[in-house]
């Protein structure tokens, strides 16, 4: 046995080699025959991507980036005093109402009883949001008073990045915990850095804290942009996919435009980023598919293909 028969050299006797472990065979333990690796499968289940389908999906990512950019634009407007908080607040409430109406209009045909119930619970949720936000605003506005501005900006950037990374792009409707929380944390940090109303804070204060209205407005808009807008987007995607594409493009354009009104360089950068994400990255994905080299075989873990829920009854 051992040394004289090498791998692949069939020994003289007519006993064929069988791939079994329980039988003592006149072959060494590491012997393999011609059929070695014939069960190897390469790149099984490789998906064939089509360019425009991928672009459409990537549009959601670009849309989300533009949302963040829009939010930052609003904050910049308030910080530089170009927009008063009350204006923004009413605008926000109006948008919320409009969006809600659209949401209900696009709802799938269910029973009306369900509608009434959900409307009541929606009203409850809205009142909880508003009351809590209004109640916590005085606390929130002085929260980061003693923290250095650079630290606040760094934290905000980190949190918004976490939001973008953790966003549930496949199904935006129930918002992911981490993404929503990161976005809200970032908005609280930004809200505490808004310039204050000189009448509300004492005139001799060197650090002017923002008024409660500023903070309230900021938080309401954060809620709108990060929590409620993805729900509407999901509805749109389900009901009218072509409208969804237009909406993404619209949002992108608004984002770039809004940023451009304050900071043209930023707008250029944003446009470049959006273009890369939407057009270049799908191209890369499709090109690199040809370099894929996955192997599957009988050594993989077994996957249960059938539905086991019938065992639960």
């Amino acid at each position: 046995m051992g040394a004289d028969s090498g791998s692949g050299a069939a020994p003289g006797p007519a006993v064929p080699w069988r791939k079994v472990l329980w039988e003592r065979q006149p072959f060494p333990d590491n012997y393999v025959d011609r059929r070695f690796l014939e069960e190897l499968r390469r790149n099984e289940g490789l998906r064939q991507y089509r360019y425009w389908a991928v672009v459409q999906e990537a549009g959601l990512v670009a849309q989300q980036i533009s949302c963040v950019a829009l939010f930052l634009t609003l904050w910049l407007y308030m910080e530089q005093g170009l927009l008063s908080p009350s204006t923004l607040l009413w605008t926000g409430l109006l948008c919320a109402l409009l969006g809600y109406g659209l949401y209900q209009a696009l709802a799938p045909r269910g029973d009306s009883d369900n509608h009434h119930r959900t409307r009541w619970s929606d009203l409850q949720s809205a009142s909880i949001f508003l009351s809590f936000t209004f109640g916590f605003s005085p606390v929130l506005r002085t929260l980061t008073e003693s923290v250095c501005t650079d630290t606040v900006y760094a934290m905000t950037a980190l949190m918004l990045l976490a939001h973008l990374v953790a966003f549930p792009y496949a199904q935006p409707s129930p918002p992911g915990s981490l993404s929503l929380n990161a976005a809200l944390f970032a908005s609280v940090c930004l809200a505490s850095r808004l310039p204050g109303d000189l009448h509300t804070s004492g005139g001799l204060d060197s650090s002017s804290s923002p008024s409660s209205l500023h903070t309230f407005t900021m938080l309401c808009w954060a809620l709108l942009v990060f929590a409620l807008w993805p729900c509407l987007l999901q509805r749109l995607r389900d009901c009218a996919p072509w409208v969804f594409g237009c909406v993404c493009v619209l949002v992108g354009v608004c984002g770039v435009g809004g940023l451009g009104s304050l900071w043209p360089g930023g707008a250029v950068l944003l446009a470049a980023l959006l273009g890369t994400v939407t057009l270049l990255c799908p191209l890369l994905l499709i090109r690199l598919q040809s370099d894929k080299d996955n192997i599957q075989g009988p050594w993989d873990e077994a996957e249960i293909q059938e539905d086991l829920t019938h065992f639960l009854h």
């Binding site: 929130l140 008073e145 915990s177 929380n181 809200l184 929590a227």
Partner: protein, 559 residues
């Protein structure tokens, strides 16, 4: 087989006579206890031996001085003759004239009689366990036991007119002392009186009035009351009219008595020193200004915290709230102290008298007074710790919500959870708030915990010294220093005479117990006041903000 004979030293110079002793069968040895001199009547000797009811004592052989013939009977199993004095020879009966080896082991009968052997079991000396001891230890134990149990044999001395004349360690005359006899006579009525008084005292203490909830709670917190109950128990042990039979019991009683005596004398010394030049008055007069000074220091500390302490960035609003809250407390405390100030001297005068009961009481009183005077620091610590604890728990729970997870109480693990929108929203707001308020609460907690730890360390030192006084076995230590043969760890042998052709002579000396073993064996068990948490557990508790009580008293061990 080697024959070993234990021979008392006092009988070396005795006249010739019969050897009386015990044969230890398994070890091929005999322990000689006494020599009965000629002339004697064998019948009377036998009667006498039965009379004194010794265990297994029988006539072993004959001592013949200067002509050197010892006849050995040995329970009829073996025979042999020995020659005493300069040369000793052995002839064996069996084996056709073979010479058996004999070893004479001399021992001091008085010392062996009075000593208590502590066989070492797994490195721990314990005078009680006899099971699973190595064979040599049981051998030595049986030798010692033989001598101890033959006490009735040693009652007759040479001045008694009895039927037999013996030589043993007491034959020169029994030891006695008038003082000891008088104390023994007086001890019984004193013990009865003390026991009666103690019963009265304990029944008073367990009466219904004193057993109500608030009184019981207060008395469980004050260490003076604890020490009082503990001493009562001790006294009950000492003054019980039954005589101590076991060695352990006797040592325990003696230790308690001696330490109580030393404690009371030190306490009386302290009282006489304190009351001599009106030192108590001076102490009372400095107490109130000291409390004032502590309060002023605390106020300054809080003002510093309310600013920017050590350059740290505090949340201004919360800072102000907490600082004002604590300042108000200090104001209340100072008013209370000023209210009490006229009565302090009188209270201190009467309370100081209770130091007569012992130095331990004085120390416990000092610890209690410290606790009462620093009560505000304790309160601040509790407030700060609770606030910090809530913050930490809230933060950890909300951090799990931030990541979309939740704590599964049933499985004791972290699981994922899909939250509602409003839950997420409110959770994030609260998380942000708590996170930014954490440095402020943490700083207040740190400051007050440090203050509390200082007070606790001081109290701990006092409690440890009280514990030391209570539990140190003074009597056993005295015995070890002055009568070291009474506490024996083992025996050692010295060669007296080793010449070829004569039997070997050895001297058996008693190896006294090591000092550390004495302390370990005879420590009076107390309500051990050692820290109940290891350092790691303590640090973990401090980090999480749980309240720490490092010097918890264990309940008194019932032995």
């Amino acid at each position: 087989m080697v024959l070993k004979i234990f021979f008392p030293q006092c009988c070396n110079k005795a006249d010739s006579g019969l050897l009386v002793g015990r044969w230890i069968p398994g070890q091929n040895s005999a322990v000689v206890l006494a020599v009965i001199h000629y002339p004697f009547i064998p019948g009377q000797v036998k009667q006498y031996i039965h009379q004194v009811e010794c265990v297994c004592v029988s006539v072993n052989g004959k001592l013949v001085q200067q002509e050197k013939e010892l006849k050995e009977d040995g329970g009829g199993e073996k025979g042999g003759t020995k020659r005493g004095g300069g040369e000793k020879e052995v002839e064996g009966e069996e084996g056709g004239g073979e010479k058996d080896k004999v070893i004479f082991i001399h021992y001091e009968q008085r010392k062996v009689m009075l000593s208590q052997l502590h066989p070492i079991d797994n490195g721990v000396p314990d005078p009680q366990t006899e099971s699973q001891l190595p064979q040599v230890t049981t051998y030595v134990l049986s030798v010692f036991g033989t001598v101890c149990q033959s006490e009735p044999l040693f009652f007759l001395d040479k001045y008694d007119d009895g039927p037999v004349k013996m030589t043993h360690w007491q034959s020169e005359g029994r030891e006695g002392s008038i003082i000891v006899e008088l104390m023994k006579q007086a001890s019984t009525p004193v013990c009865l009186l003390t026991t009666w008084m103690l019963t009265l005292w304990t029944s008073l203490c367990s009466s219904r009035i004193l057993n109500m909830r608030p009184m019981r709670f207060i008395s469980s917190k004050l260490s003076t009351c604890l020490q009082l109950s503990y001493r009562t128990e001790h006294l009950q042990t000492v003054c019980s009219p039954t005589r101590a039979t076991a060695h352990n019991h006797f040592m325990r009683k003696a230790n308690i008595f001696v330490s109580f005596f030393v404690d009371v004398s030190l306490g009386l010394l302290l009282v006489s020193w304190m009351y001599r030049e009106n030192r108590i008055g001076k102490l009372a007069n400095t107490l109130v200004p000291a409390a004032d000074h502590v309060a002023k220091e605390l106020e300054e500390l809080l003002q510093w915290l309310m600013g920017a302490p050590a350059g740290l960035k505090m949340n201004r609003a919360l800072d102000q709230v907490l600082g004002r809250f604590f300042l108000y407390h200090i104001h209340l405390w100072i008013s209370y102290i000023h209210l009490m100030s006229p009565f302090i001297e009188m209270i201190l005068w009467y309370v100081g008298l209770s130091a007569c009961l012992g130095l331990t009481f004085a120390l416990s009183l000092l610890s209690d007074i410290t606790a009462l005077l620093t009560f505000h620091i304790y309160c601040f610590y509790v407030y700060g710790a609770r606030l910090y604890c809530m913050t930490v728990y809230g933060l950890s729970s909300l951090w799990r919500l931030f990541r979309g997870k939740k704590w599964n109480v049933l499985r004791q693990r972290v699981d994922s959870c899909s939250y509602d929108l409003d839950q997420l929203f409110i959770g994030t707001l609260l998380f942000t708030i708590l996170l930014f308020l954490l440095p402020t609460t943490a700083l207040y907690y740190l400051v007050f915990t440090l203050l509390r730890l200082v007070v606790v360390m001081f109290q701990g030192v006092l409690h440890l010294s009280v514990d030391f006084i209570n539990s140190f076995p003074l009597f056993a230590m005295g015995l070890r220093l002055f009568r070291s043969y009474r506490l024996a760890e083992g025996v050692k042998f010295r060669v007296l005479c080793e010449e070829p052709g004569t039997p070997l002579h050895l001297m058996m000396d008693i190896n006294p117990l090591k000092v550390s073993s004495v302390v370990q064996t005879y420590r009076t068990p107390t309500y051990s006041c050692y820290p109940k948490d290891s350092w790691l557990a303590l640090c973990k508790k401090l980090f999480l903000g749980e309240l720490i009580y490092p010097w918890r008293h264990k309940t008194t061990k019932i032995d």
